[in-house]
């Protein structure tokens, strides 16, 4: 047969070269074929050099793993903190002698000089604050709980009144019952406990059999009348190790010298600010403060203080942590660049051949960029998986919920691909501008 189309076009079926409009016209659209060719070449070359590919992958995987693990853990912690502190909802504020966060010794001394917040303060707010819906008081004491030989330390004894404080605290009864008005008024020795109390003091009993059992705490004997639903852990610390008792009983058995905390809840979140203003005015009045006094003489806070403190304390740490873990990605990028340079040197001849048959600079550039991006994208995918794995392991050990976000997976893969693109650029450019004659002559 004839290979020369000009000679016998009809015989070869090729058609005359210059009269092939698709040929010339489609020249710019060679991208797809050339891109696919580049991808195949990249895949083949990555397969061919397993050790080299493996080392590059390790470099990228380590970097992406670090970033993904850190981001995932941080998101998990954030979620835990946010959900914990918002369980009381944005309708609750507290009035106490000292703020919940004290940052200096001077402040501590100053706050200690304040008058105690007492039951009468709560009653005044209850009477006069029209925007307030429910008002309660609470006092805490850390005690040891005992039953027979069983002992449970670090228990939070929480005295509350009225029973609506269970709602405000965001706890609900699981088995048994709450105390009655009369039990509360009579300062009876009854208690509602968190599930940890039962499992620690009555290891052999099912939860519902704990009702009616007696426990000793603070030198007094209490009868369990109800068990709360579990709240879970925060940062590995249980929130289910509490004993709720009526406030009147606390006054009777432990004395009233502790400054208590007034809890106020509004019906809707919109009313919160108004209620805060009213309560603040009432309290300032009771403390004899005029508008000249800068200090309220008490602390009025919402749970936002915790979130704000948490956020301000951790946001910088997070940025630094993510930044440090990103350094390992930069190292991965340098590994990729190094290996791509070796690859270009090793394949100079191949580049020469490709140029001789018509590859343009762009084609060679694309080929090596695709190779770099392919290996780093694969490394990115593996790194995301292992990053989630590491985060999962740490979450398991510390105990917080894990949030596998698609967002961080996309971030991990695209970040590693960008690393590949950036670090592949220079080697690829060196390959693209090779002189075809020199390249063909190389061995």
């Amino acid at each position: 047969m004839s290979l020369r189309s000009d000679a016998k076009p009809e015989a070869t079926g090729f058609g005359r070269r210059l009269s092939l409009p698709g040929r010339i016209g489609s020249f710019p659209s060679l991208r797809i074929a050339a891109l696919w060719e580049s991808f195949l070449v990249a895949a083949a070359s990555l397969r061919q050099n397993k050790l080299r590919t493996g080392l590059t992958l390790v470099g990228i995987i380590v970097g992406v793993t670090a970033v993904i693990a850190v981001v995932t853990i941080i998101k998990g912690l954030d979620q835990t903190v946010a959900s914990t502190f918002s369980s009381q909802g944005s309708t609750v504020f507290t009035i106490s002698k000292r703020p919940q966060v004290i940052t200096s010794r001077e402040d501590f001394i100053k706050f200690n000089k304040r008058k105690d917040v007492v039951r009468e303060d709560a009653e005044a707010i209850f009477r006069s604050c029209t925007a307030c819906w429910r008002t309660g008081i609470a006092a805490n004491s850390f005690e040891i709980a005992k039953h027979g030989d069983q002992k449970f330390e670090g228990v939070r004894l929480r005295a509350i009144t009225p029973a609506a404080m269970f709602d405000i605290d965001g706890v609900t009864i699981d088995v048994g019952r709450l105390w009655t008005e009369s039990e509360s008024a009579a300062a009876r020795e009854v208690c509602v406990v968190g599930p940890d109390i039962v499992t620690n003091l009555f290891p052999d009993l099912p939860i519902d059999r704990a009702i009616g059992q007696d426990i000793w705490t603070g030198g007094h004997r209490y009868t369990i009348i109800g068990v709360l639903q579990p709240l879970g852990k925060i940062f590995g610390a249980s929130r289910d190790n509490q004993i709720y008792i009526p406030y009147a009983n606390f006054e009777k058995n432990f004395g009233a010298h502790n400054s208590l905390v007034v809890f106020v809840q509004t019906e809707t979140a919109q009313q919160l600010e108004h209620a805060e203003d009213q309560a603040r005015a009432i309290m300032r009045n009771r403390r004899g403060k005029t508008f000249h006094d800068e200090d309220d003489g008490f602390a009025l806070e919402t749970q936002d203080v915790f979130l704000n403190l948490y956020n301000s304390a951790t946001s910088n740490i997070y940025i630094v942590t993510i930044g440090v873990s990103a350094i390992s990605l930069v190292v991965g990028g340098i590994v990729v660049m190094n290996i791509m340079l070796v690859s270009v040197t090793e394949r100079t001849k191949e580049i020469g051949i490709r140029k001789a048959v018509g590859a343009r600079r762009k084609d060679i550039l694309t080929q090596f960029l695709i190779e770099a991006v392919t290996v780093t994208a694969i490394g990115g995918v593996l790194g995301v998986l292992s990053g989630f794995g590491v985060a999962w392991l740490i979450a398991l050990l510390i105990g917080f919920p894990l949030l596998f976000s698609v967002w961080s997976a996309v971030l991990g893969v695209s970040m590693s691909s960008i690393v590949g693109l950036v670090s592949g650029l220079w080697p690829a450019w060196r390959a693209a501008k090779l002189d075809p004659i020199e390249a063909l002559r190389s061995e």
């Binding site: 020369r4 070359s45 051949i353 001789a356 590859a359 762009k362």
Partner: protein, 255 residues
């Protein structure tokens, strides 16, 4: 350079006389026109003139050998003809296009469309099959997949390698590799087939086969330019240009 010009016109007469050769509308078709080509290499302090003023023409369908001792400028001339390089001075027209002033990417396009290379050491991609090697120019030419396979298969069957298409170069003999290279050179229907010492790495018998293949391709109407220092290989061509010291020493029609 008048000798060369005269020689060329004589050659063209011979070419036209040969039946089956392509000529467009009965006109003499000048494929290559070199006009006073210079190639100067800047070696620091001194300038080395690899070519100083080379002019000749090649018509469509010619079978030309370029010979000369090493250092004669023959390789430089081949690089210029193959559009791997541009002249320092002078004009080179290939198939109606002024190649001498093109940039890298335009030259790449010309190499893709107009030139088919055959090298002494074959220069096949070691990891690719014969078929893929032949497809390579089509890939860079933007030919879609199905058509590409078809064209590459036809080119391979034209060099009698239908049964070796899926073989890699290391699974092929030297002669077979060179035939793959020839298929690759021809697959895009280039204006010229440019062979640089095509038998230099082959034994005598295989060299003979390859030269017979060139003969056949020539008879089919392809324009072939052989660059060689071997006289018996050059003698297979119809016209021989001898280069010495960067100049055309002789330009003769031999058969």
């Amino acid at each position: 350079m008048t000798e060369a010009t005269i020689a060329t016109s004589e050659t063209s007469a011979a070419v036209i006389a040969k039946p089956g050769l392509p000529s467009q509308n009965g006109k003499v078709d000048v494929l290559i026109s070199m006009r006073n080509l210079w190639k100067t290499y800047d070696m620091g302090a001194e300038k080395v003139h690899a070519l100083h003023g080379v002019s000749f023409e090649v018509k469509r369908g010619e079978y030309l050998a370029i010979t000369g001792p090493s250092g004669s400028g023959k390789s430089t001339l081949m690089n210029l003809i193959g559009c791997l390089d541009t002249p320092s001075q002078g004009e080179y027209w290939l198939n109606g296009k002024n190649v001498s002033e093109m940039d890298d990417d335009e030259l790449a396009r010309i190499r893709n469309q107009e030139v088919g290379f055959v090298f002494q050491t074959f220069n096949l991609l070691a990891r690719a099959t014969a078929l893929h090697n032949v497809e390579l120019p089509l890939i860079y030419g933007g030919i879609p997949g199905a058509k590409r396979h078809e064209m590459a298969k036809q080119a391979l069957s034209a060099v009698d390698l239908t049964d070796r298409m899926t073989h890699r170069p290391n699974e092929l003999s030297g002669g077979q590799r060179q035939r793959v290279a020839i298929a690759r050179a021809l697959v895009n229907h280039p204006s010229i087939l440019l062979a640089d010492e095509p038998t230099g790495a082959l034994d005598t018998a295989t060299s003979y086969d390859i030269m017979n293949l060139f003969e056949k391709l020539y008879e089919d109407g392809n324009t072939i330019i052989l660059v060689t220092h071997e006289h018996d290989i050059a003698a297979r061509a119809r016209r021989i240009i001898s280069i010495r010291d960067g100049l055309i020493e002789k330009d003769e029609t031999v058969r």
